[in-house]
C-alpha cells in the first residue's frame, strides 16, 4: 500500500486557549506522550486522518504567549519553530485563539507569520465571546491577516470538519510582515539565516537573541553568536520590548477593523462572584482544605477496593503459575520475581488515577490558578512557589508524577527546591509499612467516640513528612543561590465546567508515565533483589535446606510449617541475608536486628516490599499458627531481652525511618532526569537517609 501524504502540523496558542481540547478532539486515543530530545518537556503527538488521502501528525506545543520563552515548556516552542532542519519543524501551524481575548492570542500569531510558517487561525470560544457581546467580521479578519480563519468549538467539536479541510488543503504563507528589524541588522540576520538554513529573517533574529537556548546549535556556533551579539551591542530586552509594542499596535488596528461590540455585557459576573468566595480570607482556605481532605480520603478509602483486588489477583496469578510451571530457576524468576514485581507497580495505579482525576478537574475548572493565588505568599516564605502546591499534593500518591509536575515552575531555584522536598510527602508506598507498624505498637483505643489513636498516629506521620518538606525547603532557600528572578504572572482563567474527556486523557497520560517511568526501575530492582534473596554464597542454601529437612523429620512438622521455616532459613543464608547481617552494626543503635536490615535493603525497590520481607524472615524458628504478618511480628521474641522484638521504641523508630528515608530508586532516577545529573539525587539520598537515621536513632534512644 502506498504511503499517504504525511503532514506535520503543530498546534500553538496561549495557555487556556483550548489547545489541548482541540488536540484531543483531533487525535482521540491516537496520541502518545514522549519527550522532546535533550529536555524534559512532555511532547504530545498524535495522528489525524484529515481526509481520504491525507494523514497528519499533530504536535501539541506547550502553551505560550509569545516565542520569548520563560519556562522550560516555552523554550521548546521557540526552538521548534525556528529550527527548520529539526525533526519537529512543522509544515504548518494551527494557532488556537481564545475569541474572548484575541489581543493576547494574536501576538503569537504575528510572530508565526513573520517566521513564514503557513498558519491557520482557529477561533475558539466564539460562543463565550458572543455572550460578552463581541462579534467578528471573519472575512475582514482573513483579509487583514492573510491567513485562513476557522471558527471552532474545541469542546463540542463543531467547526472541526472545516478546520480539517483547511489543514489538508494547500496552504500558502501569509504575505504579511508585521515586524521588520532595524535596517542595520538586516545583513547580519540574512547571513545567519543562510548559514543555519532558517526559513525567515525573523527566525535569524530569534536565534541571535536566544542563541543560548537553541539546543540544535553546536557549541562553537553558540560562541560565535555570543561574540556577534556582543560586538554589535545587541540587547534582546530592548528589542523585544519595542517589537512587542509594535506588534500590539498592528493587532489593535486589526481588531478595530474586525470586532464590533454589539452589547456591553459583564459576562464574567459568575467568575467574579465565585472568586469572592474562593479567594476569601477565611472561606477560600477552608474550601481549599476541604478539597485537600476529600482528595486524601479518596486516595485512601476509594482506592483501597481496587487495590485489594489487584493484590489478591497477582497473588493468585503467582500461585497459579507456580502450580503449572515445572520447577527451575527460570520459572521461579517469573513466579517470585517478575509477577510480584509487576504487581507492585500495578497496585499503585488506582491511587495515581484518582489523584490525577482530582488535579485535572481542578485545573479544567480554573480553580488551580486560584490555589496558586491563595498559596503563593505562604509558599514563598519557605523558598517555594504557589505552583509548588500541585507537586506537593501529588506527592501523597507518588513522587514520580509529582516531580514531573514541577515542570510548570519557571524559576529554577523554586523548581529545584520543590523537587528536592517532594519525596518527603508520604507517598502511598509508605502506607503499608505505616499500617503494619502502627497496628503493632499503637493501641486501637478510641480517644473520643470517633477519634482513634491509630488514626491519629497515622495522621501525625503524614504531618511529620509535610513538616520535613517545608523545613527542608526553608533551609534550601538560604543555601541555594540564584540570580534568576522568580515570577508569578499567571492568567486567572474564567471558571468553566470540566470537559470530562480531557480529564480522562490526563489520567491515562499520568498513569502511563508512572507505569513506564517508575515501573521499569521497580521491575529491574525487584528482579535483582529476588536474585539476592534466592541465591547465597557457596552451598549455604543447600545446607540450610538439609538442616530444615532434618529438623522437620525430627519434630514431625507439617509440610506447610516446613516450607515456611525453609523460606526463612534460605533468606537468612542468601546474599540479602548476608547483607542484612553486614549492616547490622550500623542499624543496631536504631533498635534493629539483621532481619530488619534485610527488609531495609529489599524495600529499596519500593517501600511496601518491607512488609513482604519481614513476613518471610520472621518465620524463622517459629512454627506456631500465627498466620497473619502482624501476629507473627507480635509473637517475635528478642533473644537478648526475652521480651517482644517489636517494642514501641523499635516500632516508632522504624516509622520515623520510613517517613524520612529516600527508600525509592525510581524517584532517584526521575530526579536525575529532571535535574540532568547525579548531583541532586545524590545529595537528596544522603540528606534524607541521614535525617532518617538520626531521627530514628533519637526516637529509639529516647524511648528504649
Amino acid at each position: 500500500m502506498a504511503q499517504s501524504p504525511h503532514l506535520r502540523i503543530a498546534l500553538a496558542g496561549k495557555p487556556n486557549s483550548g489547545k489541548s481540547s482541540l488536540f484531543n478532539q483531533l487525535t482521540g486515543l491516537n496520541q502518545k506522550t514522549g519527550n522532546f530530545p535533550g529536555v524534559t518537556v512532555d511532547k504530545h503527538i498524535g495522528y489525524c486522518q484529515l481526509n481520504a488521502t491525507t494523514r497528519a501528525q499533530i504536535i501539541d506545543l506547550p502553551g505560550t504567549f509569545s516565542i520569548y520563552p520563560r519556562t522550560l515548556d516555552e523554550k521548546i516552542v521557540s526552538e521548534i519553530l525556528v529550527d527548520a532542519t529539526g525533526e519537529n519543524y512543522p509544515d504548518r501551524v494551527v494557532l488556537v485563539a481564545d475569541a474572548t481575548n484575541l489581543k493576547n492570542c494574536f501576538l503569537l500569531l504575528t510572530q508565526m507569520v513573520d517566521l513564514q510558517i503557513p498558519t491557520i487561525l482557529a477561533l475558539n470560544m466564539v460562543d463565550l465571546a458572543a455572550q460578552a457581546g463581541m462579534e467578528f467580521d471573519i472575512a475582514q479578519l482573513q483579509k487583514q491577516l492573510d491567513v485562513p480563519v476557522v471558527m471552532i468549538n474545541a469542546r463540542t467539536g463543531s467547526g472541526l470538519d472545516e478546520l480539517k479541510e483547511k489543514m489538508a488543503a494547500p496552504l500558502p504563507k501569509s504575505s504579511l510582515h508585521v515586524y521588520e528589524p532595524d535596517a542595520e541588522l538586516v545583513p547580519i540576520l540574512d547571513k545567519i539565516q543562510a548559514e543555519l538554513h532558517l526559513k525567515s529573517r525573523h527566525a535569524a533574529f530569534i536565534v541571535l537573541q536566544q542563541w543560548n537556548q537553541m539546543n540544535f546549535l553546536p557549541d562553537p556556533k553558540k560562541k560565535e553568536l555570543q561574540q556577534l551579539a556582543h560586538d554589535i551591542r545587541f540587547f534582546p530586552a530592548k528589542y523585544q520590548g519595542a517589537e512587542t509594542v509594535q506588534r500590539y499596535g498592528f493587532i489593535q488596528g486589526v481588531l478595530n477593523a474586525v470586532t464590533s461590540k454589539v452589547a456591553d455585557k459583564e459576562w464574567k459576573e459568575n467568575t467574579y462572584l465565585l472568586d469572592r468566595i474562593l479567594t476569601h480570607k477565611i472561606w477560600g482556605y477552608l474550601i481549599f482544605l476541604f478539597i485537600l481532605f476529600s482528595i486524601f480520603q479518596s486516595i485512601f478509602l476509594i482506592a483501597q477496593v481496587p487495590m485489594d483486588w489487584i493484590d489478591q489477583g497477582f497473588a493468585n496469578l503467582s500461585s497459579y503459575l507456580s502450580g503449572v510451571f515445572p520447577d527451575g530457576p527460570f520459572f521461579d524468576l517469573i513466579t517470585q520475581g517478575i509477577v510480584p514485581g509487576i504487581g507492585g507497580i500495578v497496585i499503585f495505579i488506582p491511587q495515581i488515577a484518582i489523584l490525577f482525576a482530582f488535579i485535572s478537574i481542578l485545573e479544567e475548572t480554573g480553580y488551580m490558578a486560584r490555589v496558586v493565588f491563595l498559596m503563593d505568599k505562604i509558599m514563598r516564605k519557605f523558598g517555594l512557589n504557589g505552583k509548588s502546591v500541585v507537586p506537593l499534593i501529588s506527592g501523597w500518591a507518588c513522587a514520580i508524577p509529582a516531580i514531573m509536575a514541577t515542570r510548570t515552575i519557571d524559576n529554577w531555584k523554586d523548581r529545584l527546591i520543590t523537587i528536592f522536598v517532594t519525596p518527603f510527602m508520604s507517598c502511598s508506598a509508605r502506607l503499608p509499612v505505616f499500617a503494619i507498624m502502627v497496628g503493632l505498637v499503637v493501641p486501637a483505643n478510641n480517644l473520643l467516640w470517633f477519634i482513634n489513636l491509630q488514626g491519629i498516629a497515622l495522621m501525625g506521620l503524614y504531618l511529620l513528612g509535610f513538616v520535613a518538606a517545608i523545613g527542608t525547603a526553608l533551609v534550601m532557600k538560604m543555601w541555594v543561590k540564584t540570580t534568576e528572578k522568580s515570577y508569578l504572572l499567571m492568567e486567572m482563567p474564567t471558571y468553566r465546567t470540566p470537559k470530562w474527556s480531557n480529564v480522562g486523557y490526563t489520567i491515562l497520560e499520568k498513569t502511563n508515565a508512572f507505569v513506564f517511568e517508575a515501573g521499569k526501575v521497580i521491575l529491574a530492582i525487584s528482579i535483582v533483589l529476588w536474585v539476592l534473596a534466592s541465591y547465597g554464597p557457596g552451598d549455604a542454601m543447600q545446607q540450610a535446606e538439609q538442616r530444615v529437612t532434618a529438623q522437620a523429620q525430627q519434630n514431625n512438622w507439617s509440610a506447610e510449617d516446613t516450607e515456611r521455616v525453609l523460606a526463612a532459613e534460605q533468606l537468612e543464608n542468601s546474599y540479602a541475608g548476608k547483607l542484612g547481617k553486614f549492616i547490622e552494626p550500623a542499624i543496631r543503635p536504631l533498635g534493629y536486628d539483621w532481619k530488619i536490615g534485610i527488609a531495609l535493603i529489599t524495600s529499596f525497590a519500593a517501600r511496601e516490599v518491607f512488609v513482604g520481607t519481614v513476613s518471610t524472615i520472621y518465620s524463622i524458628g517459629s512454627t506456631d499458627d500465627t498466620a497473619t504478618v502482624k501476629g507473627r511480628l507480635k509473637a517475635e521474641v528478642n533473644p537478648e531481652t526475652g521480651g517482644p522484638r517489636f517494642t514501641p521504641a523499635v516500632g516508632f523508630s522504624l516509622l520515623i525511618f520510613y517517613t524520612f528515608a529516600m527508600q525509592c530508586m525510581s524517584t532517584l532516577a526521575i530526579v536525575r532526569r529532571e535535574t540532568k545529573g547525579w548531583k541532586w539525587p545524590a545529595i537528596q539520598l544522603a540528606y534524607m537517609t541521614g535525617l532518617a537515621y538520626l531521627s530514628a536513632l533519637a526516637v529509639y534512644q529516647l524511648m528504649a
Binding site: F65, S66, Y68, R70, T100, N101, K103, N104, L107, A132, A237, K238, Q240, G241, T244, V245, Y248, K268, T271, Y272, D275, R276, T279, H280, K281, G284, Y285, A369, V372, F373, L374, D376, K377, I378, G386, K485, Y487, L488, L489, M490, E491, M492, P493, T494
Partner: protein, 67 residues
C-alpha cells in the same frame, strides 16, 4: 490603588520584566483595573484589556501608572 480602581499604564521600571508584562498585554496607554488581592495581600488580581491575571505585588510595583 484600591480594589475596583482603574489606572492607565505609563511605563515600566524593570526592563527585564517589562518584556513579559508587555507580552501579557500591559501596554503603555492601556488601562488596568485592580480587582482584588489575595487574602495575605499578595499576589493581586488585575484585569487588562478584558484579561484577568495575577501577579505579585513586587511585579506590579514595576509598572508606573497615571490616574
Amino acid at each position: 490603588m484600591a480594589p475596583g480602581e482603574t489606572a492607565v499604564i505609563a511605563g515600566f521600571h524593570d526592563e527585564e520584566l517589562s518584556v513579559k508584562l508587555l507580552e501579557m498585554g500591559f501596554l503603555p496607554g492601556s488601562s488596568v483595573r485592580f480587582n482584588y488581592a489575595a487574602p495575605l495581600g499578595d499576589p493581586v488580581c488585575v484585569t487588562i484589556s478584558g484579561f484577568d491575571l495575577s501577579l505579585r505585588v513586587s511585579e506590579a510595583a514595576t509598572i508606573a501608572i497615571l490616574r
